[in-house]
Subunit: 345 residues, 4 copies
């Protein structure tokens, strides 16, 4: 059994890790930390876990306890993993960080977007960006994983085949993204109340969102050159799900078979599903599931390519991808604990 | 492997069987029938099942094909199982009927509520009402199971401990029940449109609902005498879930320890969870899961007992309970295929 | 024009007053207070009011400014109206309190349920409980109105005809109530997040809710004697709306024509609508509207009477009823500002 | 009083006309037709209208009765207005068609997109496209109005200032649109069930939607030349609302003051609200209201302009705009019947 700990277990990515790991045959959750809820049983906060974790209680973070784990997940706000990751790595504990702490390779850019000093620049070199479809081999050897953000996962998986094949103009990329409200976390914010966010839809952060540099970094790597991306996120009245609608301009091969391009690109991927031509993936088709479901369109045969990409923001966009990384790091079947179909309806 | 078929697989209980059985290690779904969708792959209708049933297509019902199965589920409107069950039983195939066809023991009462002639009265004697918490041993030996309705499951599990212990007045039972819209099925009805059923709540069938005689039959058996029940169902704006709020009048033992009564009653039940005193179970705590979660209250120490009972109408209220019955009938661990925690949030 | 002020204008009942008064031809909102938002224009917080209140900004509460008003609404947490009402009344300003401060006539009971000392017991004698269907004439003469709570409005209007006619056993009343989440206010609470409260339903405060003594007080007055009520509120996934399902036991006249009883009782009421026999009122049929819509049933001809009562908790359950009181107090047509039909769908 | 009739009154735009006209001081609804519901009172279908239209019943369409009206609204599927409009115009009745029958000026294009022969090409010349912000003077003189579609209203109002000013490249327009489910009408379709459309989001008609040629026609007129538009609609889990997110490429004047451009363009418009810089309009801010609320952004100071445009699809996107046209045609204040603020929360 792989012994794991979870730092910051009260948020949505924390409880989602517990839900997924309850079905993982080779993982044992031995510690879960929360300063605010220390002493409370996890089932008191999450009654859906009654019968699964009846003896697991939140504890105050303790580096010694965490250092005894084989792996520790950080399901924390940014900055926390900076402070603890180094110590854990020295204990031989592998670190899987679901926060943004190690996602950007450029320290200055990180500091500009997150408004604070980077707490662990020395670890950046060995941190691996945990998008298995791009970095699978590096993940297998990694000690420190930066799990991709939710929007970045949906957007990169949709654009990558086109950029790697040089099919679209890298200077004219648009990502119009829609998220469910769990993307805003479990914090008690007025804007996330059912009475505020239900029966409504709005864009937010149109001036610039923290996931923009992360997406850009990934697309630049895929294109091997500069790109220009406009990214507009929207808040929608649902709990889970991201729908990324991606627009690119074809720059060559007007007869290009985009469908085959996508199918070949992801033929061996256990968690990317390219739908048949003409499909429109629904976010609910991945609710609770680790799949990214894609469809590619060329409206009216124009030069504009439209990619539709859906994920569950808490699974492939966070905790599921984290478990996928864990499986790879420990030499297990990549799909362990992630096999259940989406809940639909 | 247990070879199973599903008759009427396009509705919500049908697809829910597929979802649950995809995780069942000892079941193989070999046939699924639908007159209207014959020839279509199930994944074309339910994209969440892509990768799970890629070679399973709907076929027109064929008694010969179904007779080769070890068990057949009926996820059909009432009347269909009447017509086919006998033939299948003769083939040695066990029948698990999710419809109302074999739930009522009284033929005349069935005909009065369902407005048609009972099609298989001769089979009623051997039909077992598939509520494992009441009939576990009979289920193990049964060839023909009538899976309880959704409301009847939530209401009976809440009232049974009190009635069996003679704690409440059987002449004054009230069940105020709230359901999500999947309770109305997948039929295209105006009243079930998101534009009609969202942001609203209403009672329906206040004059009498078909689940009333089924509940009454179960409570009469528990009490071993006549009972009087008022049952008012309500349609609420959610996909899944039933919340039954049950009211009874204590008739003795003012100091009765109701909490202990419930805990003892369900101590060995894998799918009934009695919550701590003062709890209020949420329907989402069982979303996608086979548990019935209960709490018992005595507001202000009065003589009124209030039981709060929640289930997922598609799982413990239908397909999950059907799988639980299958496991019992075939001598398997009762929880096979039903182990995943609820999806929350 | 009636000059009015609103104390505590940032919550849902405050903004709802603004919405309704924007359509009132004889009211001018001249002041709105909020300590936390002082200086901010109301349209910055509530963009739906852009074009209606472009020059109205929140100010810190100022008794002198408020004392210049003809009437002041309190849309505040309990305790605030206690502190200010007396001073305003001395200025000749009428007070319409939407909080619970003056609803209970028994000081000790108020203090027990609200956990603090009553701040203005001397004003209780003249405070009028603002349920026009019961106290219309007293309201017309009142200087200080206690606007009924949301649950109490729905429950009392449903039970009153039966209790006043002596038709039901006052010792066996049950009110099973369902509310939308605005009933919990605009406070940033985790339990009210869309991610928590959507796709779920739960009872709460089963041990005793603050609206219980208020309802009891009203029913006792109607019955002119002691009553026994079990009241269980439920949180449901919608923004607005209360559905009260009321259960009583008929004590006489088995042939009683309950439909006619209700229709006669409310024949002259502008905001109570008794639906035809067999109806099931939907909460959305009163969304944004001041009507209480009722239907009365006797399931299967039994002795149990079931009344279905729906209101919009923010309108007839709060701000609309407050405006109705204002109209009565100032000798205006009771329906001014309240004439728009519900928004449906 | 203006006497009006409504043809096809059972759908969502029909009932929305009734809701709005109930508040219109100078309109009397004298006829409403429905073949399927003939004889039924409108309040039986729409209980929110009880007390407003208690004597108005659906009748079978009758050209003679309709020809006595001052104006007739068509809230019908396409093709119906073709058949009746000419006859009504000859009676001197003005026609306001909410369907697509007279929106496209090019008969061949209409026939290609709607798959049937155009039934009234001779009327096209006098039909006026009822977007008051573009055609106000023509509307005042018109006998026949083609009320714009919901998407076309939101998209055109957002792009027009930029195109008319020649600020963006007409060859690279993208409209990513999100609609609530009432956009799909009141038909009983499985895909519109709460159980299907709730907790999910999907694109649809990515290959080409019928509103595309209508939008294109309006943008071509504004630009006075060819344009290229990619239009992707999405279905979102809410009842009402459209959010159009519009992307254009600036072609000149890098220092352009887009905010001022928009504010000047719509300074005198009663139903277009340009929000302050940095705003993100919410669809709920126009729920039930006739306003189009806009915000304009240039993310990170790039060359991409992003316009956020929200309307209520049933009001400014259909019935409200129809009433606005009626007011203009009959020389009334353009805002009559349309003055109520949006319902928020």
């Amino acid at each position: 059994m792989i012994k794991v700990g979870i730092v910051g277990g009260t948020g949505y990515t924390g409880v989602e890790l517990l839900r997924l790991l309850a079905q993982h045959p080779e993982v044992s959750v031995e510690a879960i930390t929360s300063r605010s809820e220390a002493g409370k049983n996890v089932t008191a906060m999450y009654p859906n876990l009654r019968g699964y974790y009846d003896r697991l209680a939140f504890t105050a973070p303790d580096a010694k306890q965490l250092g005894d784990m084989d792996a520790v997940f950080f399901a924390t706000p940014h900055g926390v993993a900076h402070a603890l990751a180094g110590e854990l790595l020295e204990c031989g504990t592998r670190v899987i960080d679901l926060s943004a702490d190690f996602r950007l390779r450029d320290v200055a850019e990180w500091e500009a977007w997150y408004g604070q000093t980077h707490g662990a620049p020395a670890l950046l070199e060995e941190a691996v960006y945990g998008l298995p479809e791009v970095n699978r081999e590096a993940i297998k050897r990694a000690r420190l994983i930066a799990v991709p953000g939710c929007y970045p996962t949906a957007v990169q998986l949709g654009f990558l085949p086109l950029l790697k094949a040089g099919m679209i103009d890298p200077g004219q990329l648009i990502a119009d993204c829609k998220t469910g409200v769990t993307g805003a976390g479990r914090g008690a914010k007025v804007g996330s109340l059912l009475a505020e966010a239900s029966e409504s839809l709005k864009a937010y952060a149109a001036g610039g969102h923290r996931h923009l540099p992360e997406i850009r970094q990934g697309l630049v790597a895929a294109h091997n050159g500069e790109i220009n991306l406009t990214f507009i996120p929207h808040l929608t009245p649902m709990i889970r799900g991201i729908h990324a609608t991606l627009y690119g301009q074809l720059i060559a091969e007007p007869e290009a078979d985009l469908q085959t391009l996508f199918e070949h690109c992801y033929a061996d991927e256990p968690f990317v599903d390219v739908m048949p031509p003409g499909s429109h993936p629904e976010t609910r088709s991945v609710k609770g599931n680790n799949t990214c479901r894609l469809a590619v369109h060329r409206p009216e045969g124009s030069n504009t390519v439209v990619v539709l990409s859906v994920i569950d923001n808490l699974v492939k966009g966070a905790s599921g991808q984290a478990v996928q990384n864990l499986n790879l790091m420990f030499g297990r079947d990549e799909t362990l604990g992630l096999a259940a179909p989406a809940l639909m309806p």
